[in-house]
């Protein structure tokens, strides 16, 4: 176990740093993407509601 740690120690450390940086970077990007998708969904739902209400209103006026 001790030998396993010592062998190529610096390569293991550099790999770990790179892995942690990559994980956090990708994680943040994923959170951003999800936020954006939510916003898009919300805005599309609001649009749909608005068009529906205007549609029902116009039908109501005709009646």
């Amino acid at each position: 176990m001790n030998n396993w740690l010592i062998n190529n120690f610096w390569i293991k450390i550099v790999s770990l740093i790179l892995a942690v940086i990559t994980w956090f970077y990708v994680n943040e990007e994923l959170i951003k993407e999800k936020k954006m998708a939510k916003q898009l969904y919300k805005s599309s739902v609001i649009d749909q509601i608005q068009t529906r209400t205007s549609f029902t209103e116009s039908i109501g006026q005709r009646k």
Binding site: N3, W4, N7, N8, I11, K12, V14, S15, L16, L18, A19, V20, I21, T22, W23, Y25
Partner: protein, 250 residues
């Protein structure tokens, strides 16, 4: 429970990334691409940092360089990538079936027979670092490790006796290979080219390099830029088996 599960997921993901990076860095070590890889890692880090700090213009420039560097990476590492992919299914698995004691025994026998006759020899035993660059500098052999073959290779006035042989994956993969000479100013000037080459290779890679001196017939081992002089057969076998086993456990 949920927190524990998500934490373990994070750790597993980081572990997978670590494994991939470690593999790439080990793969690049000892090849000419290591400096280019360093450059690419540096560009990537600057790219991430500038993005985090919100330097949009600098980030834009680095985005372009980053995109180009991926293309450059594929072109520059074309050979290594091809070789690496081809070896995934071969070399790594073959290592599990090696009879390490046999290899050590054959190497030690050859070294001490050569030592008796005062015939110089240079034998590099590859471990984790790939030695492809050095293999390319010599003649590829791909033969079973055999003391008679090693002795024959180092016989003076034969085409392959100059340079060193490389043992990797339980086989003699190449002979007549050129190793880099050590640039360490502390190394004694009294040391010959063979010893300097052994030190140079052991500085740049994690290979174990065994040297038989032409002048004295002494057997030495270079590991990690350090040279151990005048070993007897027992200590050579002990050193080799310890290092080989350490490597195998990994």
């Amino acid at each position: 429970m949920n927190n524990y599960l998500s934490l373990s997921k994070i750790l597993i993901e980081i572990g997978i990334l670590w494994f991939v990076y470690y593999g790439i860095l080990l793969f690049a070590r000892g090849t000419r691409g290591v400096y280019i890889l360093r450059g690419i890692i540096l560009i990537t880090l600057i790219f991430i940092i500038t993005k985090q700090l919100g330097f949009e213009r600098i980030n834009w420039i680095f985005t372009k360089i980053f995109a180009l560097s991926i293309l450059a990476f594929l072109i520059i590492f074309q050979q290594e990538i091809r070789r690496g992919l081809a070896n995934i299914g071969q070399r790594r698995w073959s290592r599990f079936f090696l009879k390490e004691s046999e290899i050590i025994n054959e190497v030690a026998t050859a070294c001490f027979l050569l030592s008796k006759r005062k015939i110089g020899a240079l034998i590099a035993i590859g471990r984790e670092t790939r030695l492809e660059n050095y293999i390319e500098s010599g003649v590829e052999i791909d033969a079973k490790v055999n003391s008679e073959l090693i002795i024959t290779i180092f016989m003076p006035n034969t085409p392959l006796h100059d340079g060193g042989i490389i043992i990797a994956g339980g086989k003699i993969v190449a002979s007549g290979c050129l190793f880099p000479l050590t640039q360490n100013p502390k190394v004694l000037t009294a040391l010959g080219t063979r010893h300097r080459a052994a030190l140079g290779l052991s500085e740049e890679t994690d290979a174990i390099v065994v040297i038989v001196s032409e002048e004295t017939g002494g057997v030495s081992v270079a590991i990690g830029g350090r040279l151990t002089h005048d070993l007897d057969r027992e200590s050579l076998e002990r050193v080799l088996s310890n290092l080989y086993r350490t490597d195998k456990k990994n």
